[in-house]
Subunit: 214 residues, 2 copies
DNA sequence: ACCTGAACACCGTTCAAGT
DNA sequence: ACCTGAACACCGTTCAAGT
């Protein structure tokens, strides 16, 4: 009974279906940020959007697909924001610093989105249907890993496993939203500076090594 | 209808209730590690323990209390393991390294427990009844923060916010289990070394500073 | 094609009833 | 005190029925 139509736009979806999906995703984000994952049932989300619960099942294969779309939408928003914030960095060290600081600032300026994202990542994380969520995380790891590897090849970073450092950094980054919500008064700019300094010290070539290498 | 008896042992619980609670918690851990959070219903856990689902509600106020007990039990196991592994460290730098390496090794040698812990932290994390879970995390942050602060006071660590560094480190640590499960072939000893090296570089006083300080 | 509302199997929790 | 099994309100999903 899922819509499989021919007259469609970008992803084989009709105009009205694309609009409904958007509406439902937005309602889900609002419900998640207001009520938390546990209470974000189809009934509540539908109520929030002014539609029937059955309509959500009509437009999404299941609950998991809906929340994956939530994650995808927020990730896309974040990607655009970070790309803009990194801009043209003069070095890999600087790019890494801007990435870290940019993420802290994004968390600060998009609290509702980040809160909703945290809710769904936590709520859906352990389940088998959270496969797409895991693959999106894997993609983030891969991007950071690539950046670290290039920095090593350009001689800016010391010798470490790019994969493990990426996982380590992503862990630190993912801890930011919870901290900002736990302590709303946190000095965000200071947090950004501290975190980027911490990882600059962790990844950069040491002074002695740089002397040795020339 | 919850048991409120007088003739009891350590925590106001009768012998049989303590035994039942233990049995149920163990069954929950096994169910969590085998089926994941979403499928760990009372019905499944009770089936695993050979009792009725109603009995779980009889011994625990609600689902949240059961999973909080799961977290508490595993945390206690981990605390004992880490305390033993740290032992008598000669310095704060060494203590921090042993803590990090010890945690990686614990994750490797207690996969079922760590997997269950991850499931319940993810599943219960965003909810309002996950308050006790959050407070246990806050306690972990506090312990690491305290250790970092002392290391600073002894002149071993550079000047940073102990709170933010603790949150950053805990984030990296909490990313370990997922990585070990995502890549079962990971060289655990190498992971431990890389991570402890990374944070040693991040927190230690720089060479120039040490020369300055004497 | 799009949408509703009833029906279904499940969930956590309560509670009368047994021992 | 300890335990069961039926009952309750809820959940996600399905589906006949409307337009």
């Amino acid at each position: 009974m899922r819509p499989r139509n021919g007259a469609a736009n970008q992803k084989g979806r009709s105009f009205i279906e694309a609009a409904r999906r958007d509406q439902i995703v937005q309602a889900a984000i609002e419900t998640l940020s207001e009520l938390g994952y546990a209470k974000s049932s189809f009934a509540r989300i539908a109520e929030h959007a002014g539609i029937s619960a059955g309509l959500i099942s009509y437009h999404f294969d299941n609950k998991s697909e809906l929340f994956q779309q939530v994650v995808a939408d927020i990730n896309a928003l974040m990607d655009g924001w970070l790309t803009e914030h990194i801009g043209e960095a003069a070095s890999y060290r600087e790019a890494l610093q801007r990435l870290i600081e940019g993420f802290v600032l994004f968390c600060d300026s998009h609290r509702a989105h980040v809160l909703a994202l945290g809710q769904v990542l936590a709520g859906v994380g352990g389940q088998e249907n959270g496969e797409l969520v895991r693959s999106q995380r894997e993609q983030s790891v891969g991007q950071i890993e690539q950046m670290l590897r290039e920095g090593q090849e350009h001689g800016e970073f010391r010798d470490f496993s790019p994969r493990l450092m990426a996982v380590t950094l992503l862990g630190s980054i993912e801890a930011i939203p919870a901290e900002l919500f736990a302590r709303p008064g946190t000095d965000v700019a200071a947090y950004a500076k501290e975190l980027s300094m911490t990882y600059d010290l962790a990844v950069r070539r040491s002074r002695l090594s740089r002397i040795t290498r020339g």
